[in-house]
């Protein structure tokens, strides 16, 4: 046997400080993470508490019995087994179904507080009263269950009553009493966990993202070995329970804390991974949506660019309206002026024409007068009498004798004057004509301008009829842009690589915690392996060269062949399970920090697991072990064999011979 391990005494404060330093954070943050994950620090190995059954009684009324196909009469039963204590205690019978398992199951139910638990239905129905007394480090306790015989119910109002009482030295104090089975089970769990100083194991199941705690139900059940099981310790291999139970019972400080850290870490990692995946998938989904929206925005912008600029159109239209409004009066004025000028011009033309006409006539008259004056009248225009020209002075009119009017400068002056007037009139007309032309040009230009303005306004009106589309585009653009902004804001941020996540701190905590017990753990596991091998051999495992129990596996070399617990045959598995329980007790004693309560209850195996002969050999092997381990109580249910009766006797044996039952 190795020297006892020495443990580093690491105070919780130091532990936290180490974690903070290595995680490059603060102790407050470490505390926050621990609190967030409900990780309690258990640095001090609690001392071992002993559970020892001292008595078992069961009373009731059997009904519905059929033996060998023959109905039996109902009968009361009253079983009592008292005086139990450390050592090996055997419930034996020649026949099967003599009540051995039922009695052991009652013990198990009492320890777990779970009724009916694994008790057979008919046994439970028959039972009216159960009392199991046990010592917890010498303090007497009783589990008392009462119910109407024939009833199976454990619900409130069914008559079921369960109590846990403690002997105070003077009387029995009720620690708990209740009418509800589940409540009693919870009360017993709390009681034992507290009394034994156990902490719940935490396990994280990634598949279901649930955190499971294993409490007294698993721990208490580990004290009961019923046949084969895939687990070396306890009934389940899930969540590494078997290993953790071993660690618990053989005494490893920090194991509870470490299990809590590991389960929290696994959960946090899974959550981070899921969150990351979730975030990633959310980011990707959002990115896809943003791309769709951006594509739509691009389409809208392109469509908008093809539309007229409605605002500008409106402004231009208003400007045109104002311009037209300012120009129209000018046009009206110009039109009026044109009309005026046309009239003036027409009048001037008439005047000019008249003057031209008159001038023409005057000129023609002067010319005609000249030619006619060369001819001297020879007859009287009135009476046609001949005119004697010689009778008149030259230069006088032969008709009237008056001096002939000569064409004088007067005529020329007159014509010159008329020419001047004609010229003046022409100039006036031309001036008016020029002014009229200019005014007409202005009028026409202005009319054209107003016409163009009108056409622009009409065109703008037609274009503005399409403004609805522009407005719709603007609205949709606003929505799409808003959607892009909102989605961008909603997209989870890329995870920071160096964030002070719980995972980081928990990882460090795991490493720090392991450092606190690793060395001791190796020693303890080594010792446990030794003890396991020893006990296994003592109770009949053959050809065992080596047993190496690690935290994550159990290495067995049997017949020079490495194997595992899982590969053992059922009988060997049972032996190993029994050996493991005993090894745990021994190791706990050796380490001084183990917490196995020193109680092992073994129900007889089924024939396929181990023959009765073989089990009898186990039982006799257990006797010597029980004597070695003075404070261990081993209670066994077995089919009676000569080996057993030879080894066990007296009060340590309750025996139902053939044809009888224990109760």
């Amino acid at each position: 046997m190795m020297d006892r391990p020495t443990f580093k005494n690491v105070a919780a404060s130091d532990w936290k400080r180490q974690i903070a330093e290595r995680a490059m954070t603060t102790v407050d943050e470490v505390d926050a993470v621990l609190m967030r994950h409900a990780i309690e620090v258990q640095s001090v190995a609690p001392h071992r508490r002993r559970i020892t059954f001292s008595s078992l009684s069961a009373r009731g009324h059997k009904s519905g019995l059929i033996v060998a196909g023959v109905a039996q009469a109902d009968a009361d039963f009253d079983f009592e087994w008292t005086g139990l204590g450390p050592g090996l205690w055997v419930l034996a019978s020649d026949d099967n179904s003599a009540g051995k398992s039922s009695l052991l199951k009652i013990l198990r139910s009492a320890v777990r507080g779970s009724f009916p638990g694994t008790m057979k239905g008919d046994v439970w129905r028959w039972t009216a009263n159960i009392q199991v007394e046990f010592n917890l480090d010498g303090v007497r306790h009783r589990v008392i269950v009462a119910k109407p015989a024939g009833s199976k119910a454990t619900s409130s109002g069914s008559g079921f009553m369960a109590s846990l009482v403690r002997w105070s030295g003077a009387d029995w104090s009720v620690l708990y009493t209740g009418e509800e089975g589940q409540s009693f089970e919870a009360a017993m769990s709390d009681f034992f966990m507290q009394e034994l100083g156990f902490e719940k194991f935490h396990a994280y199941q990634k598949g279901t993202d649930t955190r499971k705690t294993h409490g007294w139900a698993s721990m208490g059940s580990a004290l009961f070995i019923t046949g084969s099981s895939p687990a070396l310790f306890g009934e389940e291999t899930m969540d590494g329970l078997s290993t953790r139970l071993i660690q618990l019972f053989i005494g490893l400080p920090w194991v509870t804390t470490q299990s809590a850290i590991r389960s929290s870490l696994a959960q946090a990692q899974a959550q981070t991974e899921r969150a990351g995946q979730s975030d990633r998938s959310v980011r990707e989904a959002i990115a896809v949506e943003i791309r769709k929206l951006e594509e739509r925005r691009g389409q809208l912008i392109e469509e908008k660019s093809s539309l007229p600029d409605y605002s500008s159109l409106r402004r231009a239209q208003q400007d045109d309206d104002r311009l037209a409004a300012s120009l129209v009066p000018k046009l009206i004025e110009l039109r009026r002026r044109v009309a005026e000028l046309e009239a003036e011009h027409a009048a001037a033309k008439v005047d000019h024409d008249e003057r031209r006409n008159l001038l023409r006539q005057c000129r023609d008259e002067v010319a005609a007068g000249r030619v006619f004056r060369r001819l001297r009248p020879s007859t009287c225009p009135s009476c046609d009498a001949d005119v004697q020209a010689a009778r008149h002075d030259p230069g006088n009119c032969p008709l009237c004798g008056l001096a002939e009017e000569k064409e004088t400068a007067g005529a020329e002056a007159r014509i010159a004057h008329m020419q001047a007037e004609e010229h003046e009139a022409k100039e006036a007309m031309q001036t008016l004509s020029a002014e009229l032309s200019a005014t007409i040009s202005k009028r026409d230009a202005l009319a054209q301008q107003i016409e163009e303005i009108g056409q622009r306004v009409d065109a703008a009106n037609r274009s503005l009829e399409g403004d609805d589309r522009g407005g719709a585009i603007e609205r949709e653009l606003e929505q799409v842009s808003g959607g892009i902004s909102a989605l961008s804001a909603a997209a989870p941020a890329e995870p920071k690589a160096d964030g002070r996540t719980d995972v980081t701190i928990l990882k460090v905590a795991e490493a720090v915690t392991e450092g606190c017990y690793k060395e001791a753990q190796e020693k303890i596991l080594k010792q446990f392996s030794v003890e396991l091998k020893r006990f296994a051999e003592r109770i009949g495992v053959k050809n065992l060269q080596d047993v190496d129990v690690r935290t994550n596996k159990i290495g067995i070399v049997q017949g020079a062949t490495p194997t595992t617990f899982g590969n053992l045959n059922p009988g060997e598995k049972l032996r190993f399970r029994i050996a493991a329980a005993l090894a745990a007790v021994a190791t706990a004693k050796w380490s001084g920090i183990g917490r196995h309560p020193g109680l092992v209850v073994i129900d007889s195996p089924a024939s396929e697991e181990m023959s009765s002969e073989d089990f009898a050999a186990v039982v006799t092997g257990l006797k010597s072990l029980a004597e070695e381990e003075a404070d261990v109580q081993i209670i066994v249910g077995a089919v009676m064999r000569a080996e057993i009766s030879a080894a066990i006797s007296g009060d340590n044996l309750r025996y139902a011979p053939k044809g009888s039952v224990l109760f």
Binding site: R356, Q361, V371, L375, P381
Partner: protein, 213 residues
């Protein structure tokens, strides 16, 4: 009333018309020696109307052109409007009972006193009195000398000839009827100046010219 200050011009104009519109007598008039005769005062007024209203003459010329063709007629109408004759050459006439009318006594006295024209009267088979005008031999020479001496007077010679292309030797009644076909002429109130029709005839000319083109 037309200004009587233009009696010499009027006399000359009438002489050109009388000369152009006269026909040769079978034998010279024994009393006056006149070899030519212009028959009908109504006819004289009608032809004088066309000389005095270039736009109405142009309209008749376009009728002739449209009926018989003749590029010279179109050219003559073109010239009338190019020279703005409706404005410059029109000598307005009054509308009276038998259409366009003017007092021509003074003008005729100028002609008769110089032995150029002699007014005569005859009774038609219908019993109606008709005034005719004997054109004396000196008239032709006088007119030729007049144009030679005063070239601006050639216009009256040419215009009289042009008017005769329209009048031909139709009777005054026929000519007057022709003139009554113009609404403006027909609808002119008595003793009102017959209005010009230049704008209408100008447009007609343009239409005909564009068609001809």
């Amino acid at each position: 009333m037309v200004e009587t200050g233009f009696k010499h011009r009027d006399a000359l104009r009438l002489l050109f018309i009388l000369q152009a519109g006269s026909s040769v007598l079978a034998s010279p008039d024994p009393r006056t020696g006149a070899a030519r005769i212009f028959e009908g005062e109504k006819r004289l007024f009608a032809i004088d109307f066309w000389v005095r209203y270039p736009d109405y003459l142009a309209d008749e010329l376009l009728d002739f052109y449209e009926a018989k063709g003749g590029g010279d007629l179109l050219a003559a109408v073109d010239s009338i409007f190019d020279s703005e004759e409706p404005s410059v050459r029109t000598v307005k006439m009054l509308r009276w009972k038998r259409g366009a009318y003017d007092l021509i006594e003074d003008a005729l006295s100028v002609l008769s006193s110089r032995q150029l024209v002699v007014a005569v009267e005859k009774i038609l088979p219908t019993g109606i009195r008709q005034h005719d005008f004997l054109v004396l031999p000196a008239a032709k020479a006088f007119l030729d000398e007049a144009v030679a001496d005063q070239p601006i007077l050639a216009w009256y010679r040419d215009r009289a000839a042009l008017a005769m292309r329209v009048a031909e030797f139709k009777s005054g009644t026929v000519l007057k009827d022709t003139q009554y076909e113009d609404e403006e002429y027909k609808n002119t109130p008595f003793l009102a100046y017959i209005p010009g029709i230049a704008p209408r005839v100008r447009e007609r000319l343009l239409r005909i010219k564009s068609k001809a083109a």
